[in-house]
Amino acid sequence: MSGDPHFEEDTAPPRPEGDGRLVVDLEGFEGPIDVLLQLARDQKVDVTRISILELAEQYLAFVREARRLRLELAADYLVMAAWLAYLKSRLLLPEPEDDGEEPSGAEMAAALRFQLQRLEAMQEAARGLFRRPALGSERLPRGAPEALDVVTTPRYQATLYDLLRAYARQRSRGQPEGLRIGAMELYSVDDALARLRRLLGSGPDWRTLSSFLPHDLKDETVHRSAVASHLAATLEMVRDGDLEVRQDGIFGPILVRRKSEGT
């Protein structure tokens, strides 16, 4: 809290003179109730015992004086003047029949008396507050406060699901610059040749080419490439005279057997 607020200067409030002659200077007043309160204080009696009629009279005189001096009066003051003039008439004239709606003159006066007392209490309370030993002038805080170290420990939130999602996202994204097209995964003819040479026994029976295909190829594309490369290898071996091949019908199974030495 700032102990040094910059406040506007308060002008010394001039007061109406006790004998009813008024020094009119609205600068010092905080509204019509404040004026009334000052006038009441000049009556030197308890606000609860003050003569409202007399007070109204003095206020109206105060307003007349202000007008004579051509001072600008704020609406608050004029409204109060009108109301007090009305109150005065209500107090002086016999009360009309109580219609239950309009408060009587006495009630209106009582209300004003209460208002005066309430504001007076608050004005006194304000003075009381500012008489208290204030921080920064009568009571001092620690002159060299020591800042407490703040250790911030971040706690990261992430679930296993987040982790897996991130990995899956990464995996399914692939990456452009870093990708190198490596060796083809397709089954090469050379591999097929080597495989066939190794697997083909010397038996005289025809066997389907597909029975020589590797069985552990899960990938369809690789499997298809294996079929193609094995067929190519077969043809190459036939050309070299190592193998016989036959197919009994369109789309029928391809049969192979090692060419016997004698044939």
Binding site: L73, A85, L92
Partner: protein, 244 residues
């Protein structure tokens, strides 16, 4: 490492914490440094007793505590008072009204003071850190309500709002009522108390005079002044000075 299960060590730590800070520390802030379930209030009371009558005292400020130099030493300390300009009377009164009547709306402050509140008044108090908006009244227009802050308590050396001088008496006297006077009195059945039996026995002579002044007031340039005043914006609520 200091053993915090030891009561004296707890006391030492609380002392150090409050001592280190320039601003009051509240129970919650203190509790963070102590084992769960520690009775902060009792320890702080003990600490306050240690400092009773010393040059520095442990003050209770709202929910918190702060060390402050003892007020009686102020003249001897030859404190260089910063030249801070005095608060305006309007601001001082407004502060008192907020303090004693909180939570209170701007219109209610104006009702009590019988005059419109200039724009700067609440701003000044807000800037000083003494009042803050608190919420909204559940009435048409949902006006903002105001209350005082911990800074206010700290500045004026008050333990709490209940510590405001004379607050109980004012309450008992019915003076902490923000309603328009007539409503307040009627509601509390206190209208009679404020009535003056002599009031209707005024002197007859003044009737003429009164009527005259009323005429005068209303005839000449009453409306003119009113319009002017309305241009001045701040005072547009002048009607509230009436008793209902």
């Amino acid at each position: 490492m200091t053993d915090l299960s030891d009561r004296y060590q707890q006391l030492r730590l609380l002392e150090a914490l409050v001592f280190a800070a320039a601003e009051p520390l509240d129970r919650k802030e203190l509790a963070r440094h102590l084992p769960e379930g520690t009775d902060i209030d009792r320890l702080m009371e003990e600490l306050a007793n240690l400092y009773a009558n010393r040059g520095v005292t442990l003050e209770r400020v709202g929910d918190g505590w702060a060390f402050r130099t003892a007020a009686d030493l102020a003249p001897l300390m030859k404190i260089e008072r910063k030249v801070s300009r005095k608060l305006s009377r309007a601001a001082m009164e407004t502060l008192a009204i907020v303090a004693y009547h909180q939570p209170i709306t701007r219109a209610e402050i104006e009702e009590i003071r019988g005059v419109g509140l200039s724009k700067g008044t609440l701003d000044t108090l807000l800037e000083a850190g003494w009042v803050r908006p608190r919420g909204r009244r559940r009435t048409p227009g949902r006006p903002v309500t105001w209350c005082t802050t911990e800074g206010f308590l700290d500045h004026f050396g008050l333990e709490s709002r209940d510590d405001l001088p004379g607050v109980e008496e004012l309450k008992a006297a019915g003076l902490l009522d923000t309603r328009p006077a007539l409503t307040a009195l009627t509601a509390r059945g206190k209208l009679g108390d404020y009535m003056d039996d002599d009031e209707d026995s005024g002197d007859e002579d003044s009737i003429e005079e009164t009527d005259e002044s009323l005429e005068e007031l209303l005839a000449e340039d009453f409306g003119e002044d009113l319009a002017e005043a309305e241009g001045g914006a701040e005072d547009d609520d002048g009607g509230q000075t009436r008793g209902h």
